[in-house]
């Protein structure tokens, strides 16, 4: 590709996620589905923005993949996006779609998150490629993110298989220059044909497809041997590095003179090509993030690679870590002075989740939590969320706990509205069906806040901005058999507390919907509370709700005095409601009741 200053000016500056969307769009994709999850969340909105493609936020990743399976059987090219743990949710259809294959090309984005910048684990999804026998491509920058996405659609149709593209956080959220093209008009492939032997996976048919898969893998190995998606960059042959994706960029930075075998296709591999490369170099290293996936495959080919310390299997790599791995040079010390106060993420000033956790702390509840902004309720000073496993788990954990500890155990499940629609509903059905007793609090802030504020079924608007049918949580809870269903405004702490107390005491299952919009979605601010320093007893009750707009200042008094940062304060008045002496109050002239 030509690369002069003039060419660069004509390229686009795109994040990896935008580049994936562009590649899919150019490849004539007609159907895009997914569920938000960092670092993948920006792909579908970018694709939707490019136009001409039906895009949806599906209810969860399994739904997204299965809907795409249908669209593919119907002949359309399909893009499905999710974060790494989303593939766990979609794993059931995935493994058998490897058997059925596709009509229209189908590409699954598995956006992995080494170092867990925004995830509950750092699983390495390359294992899914090998386990499901689905080929996987790994881009190392935005240009490759676009190019490999386009190539993935071709491979999918050519080899009759779904294809994985696995970018990591540093690819998704890095910008680089990308040469793009026009959209290709790719018509629906074939007629809508009934092909039960291909799409009905009863044992008799699946066994035949299993043999086809083995042939397909052999053919892909052959492709891996010659195709330019893998490339040799021969330099100084005293050091050879086999690598891929983001790890390639760090290795290239650390050892620009070395010889590289850069793999674009990370499963399956070509033993021939790897041996050929190995024979040309004196020392051979495999540089990869997380598990020794390539290392084990290559060792199994009988190719000797040098050992690296197990500590490098944890977390992202960096140029200095690669230097340390290969040359033993210790990475420069970049740690901060120890006395610096940390700055962890916190619930926003005025976040409606704050009162729920303030009250659950007061009620000494054991809170089985879930994933979303509200997971931040676990951090000091709230410390009022006690489990977080995976999306949807909290409701079931509460059920299990109370089956063995009884309804008297002060257990409460807290789940976000988006998480509830993703995978909480089945848990609620289970509680009702199995005579459970748990209290489930749905913290309904009318959005998927954690991942950037995407719409979801409860909101009744779709990704493309069309009105959708809004899921009615109250009616749903009643329909599954929960009779005690309440809706409260979390800004009204007295009413919220009463609902929590009563439902926790009750031997019946219950649902409390704490409904109030995420403050990032609300434009107008209310005035900050008035503070009467003479009344204040410096008890610190307001400080202990952990609002970032409140801090305790040492003014020489017996204890620090609260101060309000009026630029941050949204006027939610939670601090006023926890103040035992009315030193903090709704401002003079503000509407009573704070509605």
């Amino acid at each position: 590709m030509a690369d002069t200053a003039k060419d660069r000016r004509e390229k686009l500056l795109l994040s990896g996620n935008e580049a994936i969307a562009h590649g899919a769009w150019e490849a004539g994709v007609r159907f895009g589905s997914g569920y938000p999850g960092t670092p993948s969340s920006e792909i579908l909105p970018a694709l939707n923005e490019l136009g001409e493609v039906y895009c949806e936020w599906s209810v969860n990743e399994k739904v997204a993949l299965e809907a795409a399976a249908g669209a593919s059987i119907a002949g359309a090219r399909c893009l499905v996006t999710m974060k790494h743990v989303g593939v766990n949710v979609a794993a059931d259809p995935l493994f058998t779609m490897s058997y059925t294959g596709v009509e229209g090309g189908l590409v699954i984005i598995s956006a992995d998150d080494p170092s867990m910048h925004s995830s509950q684990n750092e699983q390495d999804n390359r294992h899914y490629a090998r386990a499901s026998k689905v080929p996987m491509l790994e881009p190392s920058d935005s240009q490759e993110a676009r190019d490999f996405t386009m190539r993935a659609f071709e491979l999918s149709e050519q080899f009759d298989t779904p294809v994985f593209l696995r970018p990591v956080t540093r690819i998704c959220h890095s910008d680089g220059l990308v040469e793009v093209g026009e959209r290709a008009e790719v018509p629906l492939r074939g007629e809508l044909q009934k092909q039960p032997e291909k799409y009905v996976m009863i044992p008799a048919y699946a066994r035949k497809r299993r043999v086809f898969m083995a042939e397909r893998t052999r053919a892909l190995v052959e492709l891996a041997e010659h195709d330019e998606i893998n490339r040799e960059e021969m330099g100084d042959t005293s050091l050879g590095i086999i690598t891929s994706g983001a790890a390639y960029t760090y290795a290239k930075e650390a050892f620009p003179e070395a010889s590289f075998l850069k793999l674009g296709l990370v499963w399956p591999l070509s033993p021939e090509r790897i041996r050929r490369f190995a024979e040309q170099v004196d020392r051979l290293f495999v540089i990869e993030e997380l598990d020794p996936f390539l290392t084990e495959e290559i060792l199994a080919m009988g190719v000797a690679v040098e050992r690296v310390d197990e500590s490098f299997r944890i977390g992202e790599l960096t140029p200095a870590r690669v230097r340390e791995m290969i040359a033993g040079e210790p990475a420069p010390d970049t740690t901060a002075d120890e006395d610096l106060p940390p700055r962890p993420p916190t619930l926003c000033a005025g976040c409606p989740h704050r009162s729920v956790f303030t009250l659950l702390r007061k009620l000494k509840a054991y809170v089985t939590g879930d994933i979303g902004c509200y997971t931040l309720g676990t951090l000091p000073p709230l410390q009022a969320l006690h489990t977080c496993l995976c999306m949807g788990a909290g409701i079931n954990e509460a059920h299990g706990m109370q089956k063995v500890r009884g309804h008297e155990a002060p257990v409460v499940a807290v789940i976000g509205d988006s998480t509830f629609t993703h995978s909480g509903i089945t848990g609620l059905v289970n509680i009702a069906y199995n005579a459970g007793v748990s209290t489930v609090v749905i913290v309904d802030n009318r959005t998927t806040a954690m991942t950037g504020g995407q719409v979801h079924p409860g909101v009744g608007e779709t990704l493309s901005g069309m009105p959708g049918r809004a899921l009615d949580f109250e009616a749903l809870a009643r329909a599954v058999g929960v009779e005690d269903v309440r809706v409260v405004d979390p800004y009204d702490m007295a009413a919220t507390e009463a609902a929590l107390r009563e439902t926790m005491a009750s031997p019946e299952p219950s649902v409390v919907i704490a409904r109030r919009e995420c403050v990032l979605m609300v434009r107008e601010r209310r005035p900050a509370p008035d503070f009467d320093a003479d009344r204040c007893t410096r008890c610190g009750a307001c400080i202990r709700i952990g609002c970032p707009a409140l801090w305790a200042e040492d003014d020489g008094g017996k204890r620090p005095i609260p101060r309000i940062n009026t630029a941050l304060c949204t006027g939610c008045l939670m601090c006023a409601q926890v103040c035992p002496v009315d030193a903090l109050k709704a401002p003079e002239g503000a509407q009573e009741g704070n509605q």
């Binding site: 500056l13 220059l177 610096l340 916190t346 305790a552």
Partner: protein, 196 residues
């Protein structure tokens, strides 16, 4: 030569917008450029870092700045600047906003915001200039333009024509806010004396 800029601060300060303007300016100049940051949890008022790497002549491999090799640092908050200071080269240019944003963790017993953050930055030997970015933006009547004041300060260290900066800003910023942001940028440029 590849040049490395680290932008650091607190979620919500417009750091990513500033780094995107910088990256677009590099593209418009016909340079190579890569930019990287982490979204997600960090946006709820947590620490945010953005890396921009550019070069007129060389390919850039890593989107991350190699450890300790940031030769320019734009710190949107003093404490965050100090937290990242060892990512900067020993003689790096460090432009640091003077306004503090106190993290909620200081409300916990035994945790304090150190009084001597700027002094420690200076004592590190880097070429530190304090930039009153927020105060300047407030004077211009748009407190949210502090990020562009900071970028204007950085512009004194990068050889790019005026038109390129304004074209880049126009690509990234909302048309409504462009004019005041460009004024903020210009004001930032005046805040850093020549030869820093």
């Amino acid at each position: 030569m590849v040049r490395n800029v680290l932008l650091t601060g607190v979620g919500g300060q417009g750091i990513i917008t500033a780094s995107t303007v910088l990256a677009q300016a590099c593209r418009l100049a016909g340079w190579q450029v890569k930019k990287s940051e982490v979204h997600g949890m960090s946006q709820r008022g947590g620490s945010v870092n953005s890396y921009v790497r550019f070069s007129a002549d060389e390919q850039i491999a890593s989107p991350l700045i190699p450890e300790g090799e940031a030769e320019m640092m734009l710190a949107f908050e003093p404490l965050e600047g100090l937290r990242q200071i060892r990512q900067a080269t020993p003689d790096a240019v460090v432009l640091v906003e003077e306004r503090r944003i106190v993290p909620v963790t200081v409300n916990m017993p035994g945790v304090t915001y150190p009084d001597d953050v700027i002094e420690r930055l200076v004592a590190s030997g880097r070429r530190v200039t304090v930039v009153p970015a927020s105060a300047t933006a407030v004077e211009l009547g748009e407190s949210r333009a502090a990020n562009m004041v900071m970028l204007g300060a950085l512009a004194t260290q990068i050889e790019l024509a005026d038109e390129i900066w304004s074209e880049a800003a126009a690509l990234v910023l909302k048309p409504r806010a462009l004019e005041v942001n460009l004024r903020a940028f210009e004001a930032g440029r005046q805040l850093v004396p020549a030869g820093v």
